[in-house]
Symmetry: C2
Subunit: 599 residues, 2 copies
Amino acid sequence: MAQLIADRRDVDFVLHEQFEVAELAKNDAFAEFNRKTIDLIVTEARNLAIKEVLPLQKISDAGCEFDAGIVRVPEAYHKVYKTYCEGEWLAMSDSPEWGGQGMPKAVGLAANEYFYGACNSFMLFNMLTHGAARLVESFGTDEQKKVYLKNMYSGKWSGTMLLTEPDAGSDVGALTTVAKRNPDGTYSISGSKIFISGGEQDMVENIIHPTLARIEGAPAGTRGISLFLVPKYRVNPDGTPGEFNDVVCTGIEHKMGLHGNSTCSLTLGGKGQCIGTLIGEENKGMAAMFQMMNEARQMVGLQGFANATASFTYALDYARQRIQTKHMTDPPEAGPAAIIRHPDVRRQLMLMKSYVEGMRSLIYFNGMVQDQHHLADSAEEKERLRNLEEVLTPIIKGYITDKAFEVCSHGVQVYGGYGYIEEYPVAQLLRDTRIFQLYEGTNGIQSIDLVGRKMGMKKGTAFMAFLEEIRKTIEMGKAVPSVKPLADNVEKLFTTYTETAAILGKAAGSEKVLDAFAFTHPFLEATGDLTMAWMLLWRAAVAAPKIGQKKKDDLFYNGQVTTARFFINTQLPITAGRLAAIQVMDGAAIAMEDASFGG
Amino acid sequence: MAQLIADRRDVDFVLHEQFEVAELAKNDAFAEFNRKTIDLIVTEARNLAIKEVLPLQKISDAGCEFDAGIVRVPEAYHKVYKTYCEGEWLAMSDSPEWGGQGMPKAVGLAANEYFYGACNSFMLFNMLTHGAARLVESFGTDEQKKVYLKNMYSGKWSGTMLLTEPDAGSDVGALTTVAKRNPDGTYSISGSKIFISGGEQDMVENIIHPTLARIEGAPAGTRGISLFLVPKYRVNPDGTPGEFNDVVCTGIEHKMGLHGNSTCSLTLGGKGQCIGTLIGEENKGMAAMFQMMNEARQMVGLQGFANATASFTYALDYARQRIQTKHMTDPPEAGPAAIIRHPDVRRQLMLMKSYVEGMRSLIYFNGMVQDQHHLADSAEEKERLRNLEEVLTPIIKGYITDKAFEVCSHGVQVYGGYGYIEEYPVAQLLRDTRIFQLYEGTNGIQSIDLVGRKMGMKKGTAFMAFLEEIRKTIEMGKAVPSVKPLADNVEKLFTTYTETAAILGKAAGSEKVLDAFAFTHPFLEATGDLTMAWMLLWRAAVAAPKIGQKKKDDLFYNGQVTTARFFINTQLPITAGRLAAIQVMDGAAIAMEDASFGG
């Protein structure tokens, strides 16, 4: 039978051949995660994902129910949530001290690929719980950790993220939720929040809302924002949930997709009874929230990728099953053939494969970077790895989610008319995926983050660390004779890319700044293309030397080299065109008068 | 108030300044369609579209109801359908002899832009009725015309198009519906058809199904296919509907979008009581159907474009209303500003505007080509114009619908998180638009049509006629000093494009044929890009000389020149990259072994 969600052979290739994750076990911190254990974890996750979580996907599309402040998730979620929590899957890579499993991030990501690809709207509840818990772990007092952390890592309580307000979305600094100091050190919170994923639900005993608000008298803008922990039910001294904390769900959104996750509007303190506790320092809420947001951005990249890999496996299977009588079979007179034999279907499958595999490598690589950061001895190395993660984050969030939507659209296209019918899985995957380009900072914001913040960060050393990694892989590719022509092509593009980055960076710091910022998204796209080429070249350089050893592996390794060849030789010329346009940097979009847009 | 669906100033610009449609009135055939009449028609269509049809859009999303063979369209359709039919909008550009209005195609398309942009799923019923009626007009006997035509052009009866079967989609030749000759010259039809838009509905008295079927004993494949008219109710000698003709709707599809049009499965002759009459000659059904399909393909291009222009007008309006406190306003210290002032939002709006306006010009141009064909005296000129239409058809269907989906996705993105919420109009437009890339021949099929059929057709003269038109516009642009640099850039790309076409054409006729056919879609995309540049250059060349005459027009004309500049200088370099990749024509997608795709 065809594989579901992800190709296990490829997952293993990335874990063990491209990144040699089991090598991490040489360090005490990851000593128990040898190859056998890693494989067992991935197998367990895969089984649970396919058997229990995947059946939720179709069900999830019917949506959550809202009734007088109460949100009911699809009934089938409850049992699966229990199994998922009992399996301790929520905090795979977190500190065992607080209930985490302490496994390498890269391994946790492989497991999560299956879970998220099985049902993103179910998993989004867990993603936010995990993010909120991490916030408590990083910024909470011991008291706060004791009260909240174990309950969240175990999934007994869930977590959310309360940033957005009706007039404060990308522009977080405009928020108007107010916190009033109480004599006992707590704060009375009042305000309205919207677009709160999992803001209300019925799988858990309590919901913890990390909430951005402005303490009375604090400065305007982002500098006056503090972060509070606001539970749905106040927590009794013994740690049990107490009385209702005046956090009222006033409705859930009717969305294009991801119906199985409740997107809530919440009113806090409508009756003046909402109490929160400060987490971190006053007026430093944005910094704390940024940590959560950065993790969330990486996870959104994973969400997009997971739907893309699911759509690809469905499309591939369909293209192998669907017979048509003629057109371009090889040889043409051979008669009926599966549509995988049609050149334009192959082109689309190759594109899907290139992106999906490039994304997988990039996401696991980012996990490895964090694992190495965890293990690194020197402050310098820690700094380098943190920088690398900082540069990779907008690429993972922005580029992967853009391309995931494209991949899912190809998935629909490969199915032909059936792709548009909701009985088949690819339509929902496309709808569900569209949100990832929007939430946790639109992809426009990601591109501004890359160019306006990450490129110049720490005098450019972060960006240099990123470029250095690509250069290493190019050298590695050049050393493998059959891969060298591909490495040469990547190098050529790499040179143009670095020139373009310099031109764009210079313009961004000049009076041409607005022109430059009309090219941040094209630059993010070019950066992502290069990153895909980097990862696919790396794969080819690992695979090529192994060809001819075991016959049964040759198909896989040949596929790696051919996929790199496809992407580098058919897609990078387009990237070169993008870079050329950025270098010209025509200022038409800025020069245009507002009224000339018409309407 | 902001404009809805389309910018009337731009519609008028294309009709009267770019193409001078009113000049057609110098000919007897179009004598009554002077400028005043044309403007009146567009105004009437716009009013009806905005006041009556547009309110159906949101309603349509709730879908049609199916119950035991009966399909109920949304209740609100009925009244609007009546008004629409009474206004005689269904056959605007058809022969007055059979109830058409005889207006130029270009004018009818302008009116239809408003209707389709208002509610595509409502209009799809009318589109198919019109297409089916045209088939009767072209291939029917006088008897068939008398019975069917007036009833269809008036909208009293509707029409459909019965091609697809469960195992015969793109591969039409595989169909299995059978026609058995009866002694009276009629045929007994039996088979099952799927994906029949408007296959069953309750707005009309009778439904006429042009049906592809194979007469018993006919050859296999497309050479054995005949076309039949199969009514839902048999037609009495006096022209009234008679007894039920055993065409049973067995269900409607649950789709990603376009819910307000019933996509039906039909069983013909399940009780042996389905009678059809041959239309055209035996075994020549495909040729007749191709005429209908070609018209339908052009109309699908219009459908995509209409949603794109609707999405653009919404996004533009939203970007002007939505205030954010900061980021990149000009000057940065100016404080709160609408998001239209953000460079990345402007970039997206410019892209949307470029595509929408390029599409509008292309679609009206194709209408003009057909109007000129209607008027042409010489067989040679008629041939040239028909050829031109043949080449434009896959670009209109394939490229426009691909880009319409992108435009609608930008529409969602400009709205931010709100774009994903179904309360706002852009989400539905995106969902509705996805089908256009699939039906009436997937866009892969369109690209094969362009490269495999249209490029080489009539020894390449058709394709040369297309290139010649572009060249004329380049010369026109070079003659306008302020536009010359843009014309030069288009010319440069044009040269590369023609070289690439030659390389691709040669490869398609060689042993590299499969490699070549893995590049038909990239070539279609490059062709479409060039076509957009052609149309935008044309607009700029018309607009630029008028700048400085009337102050109130300058904003519009400047916008035309700046939009051309944006597209030509920021997008054509990417097209050049696409062409470079086609020239390399790496055969990786074909070289890949099927098993190497994984899974």
